[in-house]
């Protein structure tokens, strides 16, 4: 009799298997397909530093470009590269990640090339700061000419400003080129 009740109950109830329509929504925090924006990357290497399975690495062509490489077969989708990127160049979108067939062989590989620019002062090739970072830094009213400087020349310019603040009459001779 109890069994009859169960059978009847089961017939009258709708299916308990999940239909594709009532799948849970993909949360905004879902860590899926990884994208890299070369325009925001400063090639600082933080993403490669925090990547435990070493899915990210950098290569360089001296004087021309720095390349950011990603191999999905080694990625564990922990999202630490996105969390730690100081300029928010890396983003794990909520889309399905690309194919990953094996840990060593084929699978999605991403490469993103960051072109080096010559310094407007010393001519040394360097990774330019992302436009957003530059706007934030120069908003305080620094010298516009310094925008094209390499990190060494920026440092030199900063110390020159400090020096002239202490010794305003130009007692110190104009500094030469920094050593390279």
């Amino acid at each position: 009799m109890a069994m009859l009740k169960t059978i009847l109950g089961n017939l009258l109830r709708p299916s308990r298997t999940r239909a594709p329509a009532d799948m849970p929504v993909v949360p905004p925090t879902y860590r899926g397909a990884l994208t890299h924006d070369a325009g925001r990357c400063t090639a600082c290497g933080t993403c490669a530093f925090v990547c435990a399975p070493k899915a990210i690495h950098f290569t360089q062509e001296p004087g021309v470009s720095v390349s950011w490489h990603f191999f999905i077969g080694q990625c564990s989708f922990c999202g630490l590269c996105e969390q730690n990127c100081p300029t928010r160049a890396i983003h794990l979108r909520a889309d399905v990640p690309g194919s990953m067939n094996s840990a060593s062989g084929d699978g999605l590989r991403l490469e993103s090339v960051i072109r080096l620019q010559p310094c407007t002062r010393c001519g040394a090739a360097h990774v330019p700061l992302p436009a957003a970072t530059m706007d934030a830094l120069w908003a305080a009213g620094a010298d516009e000419a310094e925008r094209g400087y390499c990190p060494d020349c920026r440092r030199w310019a900063a110390s020159a400003r400090l020096r002239t603040a202490f010794i305003p009459d130009g007692a110190v001779a104009e500094g030469g080129r920094h050593d390279r």
Partner: protein, 359 residues
């Protein structure tokens, strides 16, 4: 005529490799030897070669079920060395994730246990409930396993809308109270396979130094959440569940009632989520020289971490003692004098986690 019978390492009952070699006379087991070490990955040594950020990702992969506990305990050890005080909100979020993980681990165990006694419809019911927990974990952390929530000094993700997760908890409490617990405690099939089976007396439990639900089912009231409260357990109030019987039935009941307590803890933590920052520190962590030992209550019992730092980029030593490491040998006294057919449910009743044990 006595004979010996190897069960495993590739296991009919469990997903992970470990071997129980039993000596039987007829249907009755006379003695048993447990062998582990089939999935050794050398994580403790690897941890010395990775920097402090990478180690969290690595440690999270010690276990596929209680991944968060390991990452969390490691972070707590690093915070102790560096003298970082965890923000209140981060402590609450860690507690919520830890308890959700306990729920999913215990539900997974209850499902596998039901499967081991041949009770497939109960397995289906339990896994339907577990899916609600997994959905909640995914909604909070963005992943069903390996949540990646912890960093040294806090948590990486917030719970922006705590009230959104309450309906899932209601459904869970209802499912546990109306289906899972009554079936395990009243159904004649479940009772026949669990009551009086695989007994471990209180004295044996002390002798074999078992921890977690196995110890609590043998009448030992030990639980790190109560004995040495960490995170938000002192604020939320915690009641441990203890049973004196020591059989498989008692282990089922202890885990079932613990799930109800977890639901209550999660609900209170969600409702009383304090405002404030998620992290005490910004940027990459700097851990000075020092050492720390931390105990936390993982779903299977007490997890113990010893972390030493020499002030460099990587930890100098990470020693992990997982609860299954002490619970698995206790299978030997449990199966003595039991029938061979009960071996599978008895060893499943300690909830052995082999990847934790082997590391």
């Amino acid at each position: 005529m006595p004979y010996s019978f190897p069960l495993g390492p590739y296991h009919p009952a469990l997903e992970e490799p470990f071997k129980v070699k039993v000596q039987c006379r007829g249907e009755v087991i006379e003695s048993a030897t447990v062998e582990v070490g089939f999935s050794y990955r050398g994580i403790e040594l690897l941890a010395q070669k990775r920097n402090w950020v990478e180690v969290i990702t690595l440690i999270e992969r010690v276990c596929g079920i209680c991944s968060n506990t390991h990452a969390m305990t490691f972070c707590m050890a690093a915070e102790t060395i560096a003298g970082i005080e965890l923000p209140k909100r981060a402590a609450h979020i860690r507690t919520i994730i830890a308890e959700l993980e306990r729920l999913h681990s215990h539900l997974l165990w209850a499902g596998v246990g039901a499967e081991d006694i041949g009770f497939h419809s109960l397995f289906m019911e339990v896994f339907t409930l577990r899916e609600r927990v997994m959905d909640t974990l995914e909604a909070i952390s963005g992943n069903r396993v390996n949540y990646g929530m912890n960093c040294i000094g806090g948590v990486l993700r917030d719970i922006p809308d705590p009230a959104a997760h309450l309906p899932a908890l209601d459904a869970l409490a209802k499912g546990l109270g109306e289906i899972v617990i009554p079936t395990f405690t009243q159904n004649p099939t479940a009772l026949a396979r669990t009551r009086g089976v695989g007994r471990l007396s209180r004295e044996q439990a002390v002798e074999w130094a078992v921890v977690g639900p196995v110890a609590r089912a043998s009448g030992l009231d030990i639980d790190v959440r109560k004995d040495q409260p960490y995170l938000s357990y002192a604020d939320l109030g915690f009641e441990s569940v203890v049973r004196p019987e020591g059989d498989v039935q008692a282990r089922v009941v202890v885990r079932a009632l613990e799930m109800m307590e977890s639901v209550r803890l999660i609900r209170e933590a969600l409702l009383s989520l304090p405002p404030g920052p998620l992290r005490a520190t910004q940027g990459l962590p700097e851990i000075p020289a020092g050492e720390a030992t931390i105990r936390t209550e993982a779903p299977r019992g007490e997890a113990f971490y010893y972390v030493a730092s020499e002030g460099g980029a990587s930890p100098a030593r990470v020693k992990i003692r997982t609860p299954s490491f002490v619970n698995i040998p206790a299978i030997e006294p449990m199966v003595m004098g039991q029938t061979l057919a009960d071996l599978s449910i008895i060893q499943a009743s300690v909830d052995p986690c082999i990847s934790c044990t082997d590391r």
